[in-house]
């Protein structure tokens, strides 16, 4: 026997509308689930022990980067992603990828890609799985060492997207014919030895040794991503179409959309960093000097890809492609009001 209460029609007035720290920030209103999941979640004081793996720092420490904010929660994700909304959005998005694979398999489209294009594709595209993987590692570092849940959470989801990209490239690779032996072993060899990737790989390996999470974001999100995505998923995809291969355009759009989505939080973060009332100017100096370096390096690195444009039957014009990529990059830097010399 159990006692239950029958609730008569009665609405109980809430005693408070939100968590105290949210009421203090936002006034007497209900908080969104994004705010509840994010704002002031990270521990901030009275840490018990110092890290044994690095001297002179606390567990969470604003000094993990030269970039600083007066209030780290002045940055909020414009997409308002928290775990559920992020996973639900990505799961839904990926359904179309699954359907597309199904469609291509049913029609045998992967087998129909011309051998000529396959050679081009295997050279520039499949090795990019290693680049995406490195992006994952780097963003995991930002997720650990960044300050404030609103920033680190975006980095975590971005890391997840990077890993997913690496795996999607792999999944495409699994579907392709293998005229010259193991597609992934070849791609790794290309990544490790082929001239078109060496400056890029050198860039990435050096970035992997950088500890400052702000610098990592500049090198990865504001430089690698901003150059590689338009180059691969727009310019090289256009070249594929000109050569009669439109099968991969779907994936290029998917990857490019993913890139644009992550640029939403990236651009917002840098906007906030530049506009900070106390640290804005210092941040600007750091961002402009680092970005001039990284954008310059990556711009040089992709020049090696000119070789790829010469490979197909219908050759592409790398000069025009490069101009487009630079235009894209400069648009983004211009939008942020950054003075960057590439």
């Amino acid at each position: 026997m159990a006692v239950q209460y029958e609730i008569k029609q009665k609405v109980i007035e809430p005693k408070r509308l939100a968590f105290d720290y949210l009421l203090k920030r936002y006034g007497n209103r209900q908080a969104s689930r994004y705010e509840e999941a994010t704002v002031d979640i990270q521990q901030r004081e009275n840490f018990h022990y110092r890290p044994t793996w690095r001297e002179g720092v606390e567990i969470f420490d604003v000094n993990y980067s030269e970039l600083k904010l007066t209030d780290y929660y002045s940055f909020l994700d414009p997409r308002q992603f928290y775990y559920y909304t992020y996973n639900a959005a990505r799961a839904k998005n990926y359904e179309s990828v699954d359907k597309y694979f199904e469609f291509c398999e049913e029609r045998g489209l992967f087998e129909k890609v011309s051998d000529d294009w396959l050679k081009v594709f295997n050279r520039y595209f499949i090795p990019l799985r290693h680049l995406e993987y490195a992006g994952w590692v780097l963003l995991c570092g930002v997720a650990r060492f960044g300050y404030g849940t609103s920033i680190t959470q975006c980095a975590m989801f971005n890391a997840c997207d990077k890993y997913a990209n690496a795996q999607l490239i792999t999944r495409i690779g699994f579907e392709l014919p293998e005229p010259d032996g193991d597609i992934f072993e070849n791609a790794k060899k290309t990544w490790l030895e082929d001239g078109i990737f060496q400056p890029l790989r050198e860039y990435v390996e050096k970035l992997l040794t950088v500890q400052d999470w702000g610098e990592v974001l500049i090198g990865q999100n504001l430089a690698i991503d901003v150059f590689i995505n338009p180059l691969v998923h727009i310019e090289l995809d256009n070249l594929a179409v000109e050569n009669g291969v439109s099968l991969f355009s779907f994936f290029s759009k998917y990857f490019y959309d993913m890139y644009k989505d992550n640029m939403r939080w990236t651009e917002k973060l840098f906007e906030v960093l530049l506009a900070d009332p106390n640290y804005g100017e210092k941040n600007r100096k750091f961002i402009e000097s680092k970005l001039s370096h990284y954008a310059g390096q990556i711009s040089k690195a992709i020049d090696e890809f000119s070789d790829v444009f010469k490979m197909p039957k219908k050759k592409g014009d790398f000069k025009i492609a490069k101009e487009n990529v630079l235009k894209h990059a400069n648009e983004i830097y211009g939008k942020l009001g950054l003075n960057v010399k590439i």
Binding site: K15, F19, I59, Y84, R144, T170
Partner: protein
């Protein structure tokens, strides 16, 4: 040009580890600078077997589905004012402790596993650590969202992150996880994936969550079980990591054994809070601490897990026998501590009702009536000037230097006395609640002397909202600094109780 046939394992290998490469432009040590200082030796990361083969796309799909179910249940509970159908508002005090104590640990675990995903040089375990980091963020957020609705109607939920960094009893869980994330990546993963996930989270997430279900709290049951379904992956990772490290090099065995010894006791002391929650704070109880301990630790861990690890030269944790001896004392000692200091806590406590004491006596036939019942009988009479018409220990307790629980653990070999241990280190005396905590200190004194001990910090004057105007103003200024409002004192003088009665007075009672 037929495609070659690959097994699932081979395919997964390509999806994950195939992505890694040996750097040539920089030294690997510069990419992973924290991989060697702990002394763990890895001969071949390729010997790692992926315990589960989860791709990101599968992860998105199943995790989104789990969360879709959780939020549907939560929204239904909110719409139906489900909090009114809880067994009793007393129940929520266990959830307050959970939200203030455990939820921030989920968050710390998220960041800790991001560290492992970044800094462990092996791509296999790193991938698993990455998914776990994602999961831990999930747990933080679903728990916060479940608490949000309770926060609107009840005290004790309003400032969990703020309190976690400041309030005395929350330094117990906080120091535990601070200890783990300040350790190197190998110790961290052994501590959390193996010792905590495999051995201890079951106690937290299974019988306790079953208790939540029994008390009418479906959102908590749902996040608990749903979180624990992720833990199944984490447990698999923990076991795999430890076996992998043990197989890689014989020099790893004593290091791992030391970590297992340390983290068993550290985690067990932390979990003692759950013992108090299960035995005292659930109005309707599913099983006792002792029963859960026997099922989940003695059967599953000692008879199962550690027999499996014998062949690697690993024995059960050093102080396991003490935990077994304590199983009829632990929850009573800890609840008594929480009860005594409730004037400075963000939850309520109460004297167990007569039928609850009967239950405790039945579950603990050798200890409850003998050593604990009288305390509550006295507590009814020993009045203090504070609200609640019962006993509080007015004063500040001495804390154990390692686990940071007030030194009130009964010696099972001499049940009329508490255990007290001390060590002199560099001219200072440090106090411990147990041989386990003392042993942990002695392994790494330079670490544990750094502890931010809440009572010491109060004495140092670091915990006041404003300088106290006199001795009577000390506690009020500390409480203000904690942001404790009407969250403290006995349940029966609380706003929670007053409101609960008010809300239920014109509701029809249906007996089913």
């Amino acid at each position: 040009m037929a495609k070659k046939k690959l097994t699932l394992a081979q395919k997964y290998h390509i999806y994950t580890r195939g992505l890694d490469w040996e750097p040539t432009y920089v030294s690997k040590k510069d990419i992973y600078p924290y991989a060697e200082y702990e002394g763990i030796k890895i001969k071949d990361w390729n010997k790692w077997e992926d315990p589960f083969r989860m791709t990101v796309e599968a992860y998105w799909k199943y995790q989104a589905e789990k969360d879709r179910r959780f939020y549907a249940i939560l929204d239904g509970f909110i719409q139906n004012q489900g909090h009114l159908t809880l067994s009793d508002a007393r129940y929520l005090n266990s959830i307050k402790l959970f939200i203030q104590g455990v939820t921030p640990l989920e968050y710390m675990a998220h960041r800790g596993f991001a560290f492992v995903a970044r800094h462990l040089p092996g791509p296999g375990p790193r991938t698993a650590a990455f998914f776990q980091s994602m999961d831990e963020l999930r747990h933080t957020q679903i728990e916060v969202h479940a608490a949000s609705n309770f926060n609107k109607y009840y005290d004790g939920f309003h400032s969990m992150t703020h309190m976690h960094d400041r309030v005395w009893y929350l330094s117990v869980p906080k120091s535990y996880f601070d200890d783990a994330v300040t350790a190197g990546p190998f110790e961290y993963i052994t501590a959390i994936s193996f010792s905590f996930e495999y051995a201890l989270t079951n106690l937290l997430f299974v019988p306790f969550m079953s208790g939540a279900a029994y008390n009418g709290d479906t959102p908590t049951m749902t996040f608990g079980f749903s979180a624990q379904s992720d833990e199944s992956r984490h447990m698999t990772l923990g076991l795999q990591v430890v076996k992998f490290l043990l197989e890689q090099h014989e020099d790893n065995v004593p290091i791992i054994q030391r970590w297992i010894d340390k983290w068993w006791w550290r985690g067990y002391r932390l979990t003692s809070l759950v013992g108090a929650m299960m035995d005292y704070m659930l109005p309707k109880r599913v099983m006792s601490w002792k029963e859960s301990f026997e099922l989940y630790i003695e059967d599953q861990i000692l008879e199962g897990l550690f027999r499996d690890l014998e062949r690697y030269g690993i024995r059960p944790p050093l102080h396991m026998n003490q935990s077994i001896k304590e199983k009829e004392f632990l929850s009573h000692d800890v609840y008594w501590i929480l009860f005594s200091f409730t004037f400075a806590a963000a939850f309520h406590s109460w004297i167990p009702k007569e039928e609850e004491m009967e239950w405790l006596a039945e579950k603990y036939p050798r200890t409850f009536n003998q050593y604990y019942r009288w305390r509550y009988e006295k507590a009814k009479e020993a009045k203090t000037p504070l609200p609640g018409d019962r006993f509080y220990y007015i004063g500040l307790p001495q804390l154990c230097q390692v686990c940071q629980i007030p030194m009130g653990f009964t010696n099972p070999d001499d049940p009329n006395n508490f255990v007290q241990r001390y060590v002199e280190y560099e001219g200072e005396i440090y106090h411990f609640c147990s041989d386990g905590c003392k042993w942990i200190f002695e392994q790494e004194p330079e670490k544990y002397v750094q502890a931010w001990l809440p009572v010491h910090e109060i004495y140092k004057g670091n915990c006041f909202a404003e300088p106290p105007k006199g001795p009577d103003d000390v506690v009020p200024q500390v409480l203000k600094w904690y942001n404790i409002q009407t969250d403290n004192f006995d349940y029966f003088v609380s706003e929670d109780y007053k409101n609960w009665k008010e809300w239920h007075k014109d509701m029809a009672t249906v007996v089913v």
